[in-house]
């Protein structure tokens, strides 16, 4: 089961030397990433409101499994999905 957040939460992210998330801070909590399980990229809707996102499925030290993404259009990071 996963929870897709109704509105992705904006987060602050510290990145590693390859641009992936090392740790992130959101909703008053700090998370350290212990593993990036998967990475994928989505580009869409370039003819109207361009979407360009790099997704990271990460596991945090607390055992939280979630999807973060870097929105290249807004140059901002978001937490989009949490796995139960």
């Amino acid at each position: 089961m996963t929870r897709l957040l109704r509105r992705p939460i904006k987060i602050s992210v510290a990145i590693d030397d390859r641009g992936g998330p090392r740790s992130f801070y959101g909703s008053g909590n700090y998370y350290e990433v212990v593993e990036v399980c998967n990475t994928w990229r989505v580009d869409a809707d370039w003819w109207k409101r361009r979407i360009a996102r790099i997704y990271y499925k990460v596991e945090t030290r607390e055992g939280l499994l979630c999807d973060l993404y870097l929105d290249e259009v807004k140059d901002a990071w978001y937490l989009e999905r949490i796995y139960d």
């Binding site: 990229r41 580009d43 003819w47």
Partner: protein, 1042 residues
Amino acid sequence: MALATYVELHAHTFYSLLDGASPPEAMLDRAVELGMDCFAITDHDGLYGAVNFWLAARERGIKPIIGAELTLDGDFHLMLLAKNLRGYNSLCRLISCAQLSHGKGEASLSLKGLEEYAHDLIALSGCRRGEVASYLIEGRHEGAYEAATRYASIFGEGNFYIELQNHLLPDEAVLCAEMVDLANSLGLPYVATNNVHYASRDGYELQDLLVCIKERSTVEEPSEVRRPNSEYFLKSYEEMAALFQSYPKAISNTVEIAKRCEVDLGLREYGLPSFPLPEGETASSYLEKLCREGVERKYGPPRQKAWKQLDHELSVIRRMNLETYFLTVWDIMQWAKEKGIPAQGRGSAANSLVAYVLDITKVDPLRYNFLFERFLNPQGSSTPDIDIDFSTKHREEVIKYVYERYGEDHTGMVCTYYTFKRRQAIRDVGKALGFPEGVLDRLAKSVDHWAESLSDHIVTEMNLKGMEKSLPWEKFMSLCNQILHYPRHLGIHVGGMVITSQPLVELVPLEKARMPGRVVTQYDKDWIEEIGLIKIDLLSLRTLSLVHDALEMIEENHGIRIDPEKISLDDPVVFETLQKGDSIGMFQVESRAQRNTLPRLLPEKFEDLIVEVALIRPGPLQGNMVHPYLRRRQGREKVIYLHPSLESILEDTMGIIIFQEQVMQVAMAIAGFSAAEADSLRRAMSSKRSRWEMEKLRQRFMVGARLRGVEEKTAAEIFRQIAGFAEFGFCRSHAAAFAQIVYLTAWLKIYYPAEFYCALLNNQPMGFYHVSVVGNDAKRHGVKILPVDVNLSEERCATKGKDVRIGLSYVHGLGERTARLIVEERKNGPYESLHDFYQRTRIKRRRLENLIMAGAMDGWQIPRRELLWKLGLIYDEGDERAPQEKLELTFPSQKVEFSPLSPLQETILDYSILGLTTSDRQHPMCFLRGRLDKRGVISTAVLQDLSDDVPVKVAGLVVVKQSPATVRDLLFVTLEDEFGLVDVIVWPHIWKSNRRLIRRSAFLMVEGTLQKQGKVISILAKRLEEVRGATVKQSKVSRNFH
């Protein structure tokens, strides 16, 4: 340079039609930036861009790897790379097999086909649509293992690689791991590729759009074949190494594979098959024998000059092993001659005495001092080019002969690439973006401005007022501009045929053409030539059909059989006519520019006609050479030479470069170019100009000129002149070949006008003018155009004494078959009435209506309206499939009175149904004349009597609109009134503010200033106005060249 540590082995250029988004050159430029020194092209089911890629790669110091991604039965993809020439042969075979065994655009290769020709190839398992990857994605591991084992066995040890790709799709990391496991367990090597579809990330949008165009869908419609992100660009070693950090061997194997692939596309040795020779002859001895016979036939004694030139040419031909080539062309020409098919060599071949004495070309090269080296250059590496024009209606027979003579395995038609033009770009891009069709239709139909950028046109036409910055319009305009000139689909070239000694299918991939039963090569004519294969252009020229038809009619009407080759080329009457610019219908010299140049150049002899033909070409026009030449010819400007060494080259053209060979001679004289280098210069300036090549040649030219002591400024100016010229100009011999046809058509028009106009009308469309202008020109030359008549007309137009009767096939919608039926049935006696006609022909109602409205049944002396009424009654009676039961009503038909059509109505019907008016009708301008007189509008008849620079008002039917490529910001409009034609010059600002008016009005009134240069008259427009009152559609009468 050391080998790069990553080589891209899977790249689709824009020759993966409507899928790849970058030209090969852009891919290679990016590869250079990334430090790759090998790179592969692997387009879908074809080697379309291979030669272009091969040349461009070598130019950039990159080793080209030739490959393709094939579609296999089951819709699986498989990547193939040629290891060597044999591998290239296999690749050509496999692609052709895939292409020819299915419908056009549905290539698919069977496993059996693959097994048969899998030699000397390296295969990669392909993208996600590869069989191995597909099965793994579906979880069918056994299938994947079986497929991999099968491919490994087909291609042999070390020749089949498992292909890993990672485009940051959610499942690709897992897929890669599974692919590597599979490879390891089967002992197969694996390799990384990026399945590149554009050079850099910013090509993503265009690629996505191209796929939508291909799928005929819009961007809003989801589709599996569209790629989900922008990762399909050419990546660096660092980027790829990062993506495949767990599999370093996948990266290093790209280099290993690249090292194993080496293909040279120089295929010269596979030229023509041997020619069937008489016993005891070699190709060389037989050619010499034929030439010697030809010299004796063509030249009277003394023949020393001819023998000397023949010996020289034969020695060059032997040195270049071209005997078979000449014999092959000779054989085709002989066959055509035996069949009575008009044919004539054009182009640089006319420089050759051998071509002349073999009856391939018609102009005596000795008489006009043609330069043989322009045709065959002993130092040159290029294949000679013989282009032959055949009468349009006979060309198909010639092609069939060549197929039969050399076998279908060794013969093929050359393809041509259709690229996106403005209208197509607007329609396709707009449709894919979901724009309303009405908007696109309006935009596409209104594109008529060369100079204006496409974006400017869209902004103006749609009155966007700042909206152009909104995202949809911005994307639309940007993508339209990007897509321009991209290849869209492939068709048959107008005449290029390639004949090879080795089976063609091993040298060039073949595919089906749209024409049933016809096969084309995937290389266009330039690439065929680049790889050294022999191509012969069997072109179609309608003028030769005209000449053929006219000569046949002359023989029939006058009992004289005219041999065009025996017509003397110095008839003063012909030159007097040409000097007047009275040239409508004549070959090459009827255009507005030519008509205006003739009275200024005043040709007096055949040599002048050669210049005339060559002068009005983009080369001399763009190089600003026309006006200086005319001024110098008229003695109004001093003849000067930019450098003394140019005098001998340009003496007979008064210091002006007019012919293509002069460009080469100038480069040789000023910069010390060898003949081969000069030829490279000419080729580099072809329509596919290579910036790299041009820059290299410019530098070489400047260095050479400096070494020869030519001032830098002078050298730069000379290079500027020749750079604007070259391929867009004619070579002298080609101009001469054309000039001969000009002369012939002029001669026919003067001495046999009825036969000339009749043949001209029967070979439409051709030339510069709409058929109505041809018809009106005939009337002005005393040839009556007689009305179409079901009892008098033939299927096609026919002469009647000094006049021409319009043929039945001219009636709109009738078609040749129905026209033939009417004529055939008439052999049983004339048609007595409408009822009789219907009973005997039973033709469709719409066609019969057109016959009535065109006046083809006026002979029964019944008003056309009454005939139409009666027609209704006939069809009511005769149509058994009438959808409704008839009401029992009686029509008082006897009492209905029908007024005849007015003369204006008859004229309008002529234009709309026949396309031209007959002599008993008046020009539509006659009906407007009274009204125009009151407004001070004068006719074209009085313009000659007025002086230069006076204000005038004229009006006429718009018959030509032209914005030549050489002066793109100007529009020339030709108006026709009841007395003749007048050209109107429309400056850009006037054009811009009257665009819609100019586009739509059938009749225009022009206020402007009269421009007179000797006998040449034109009007400089200041104000334009539509003249209403005669409903003729512009599209029915005007030819537009813009």
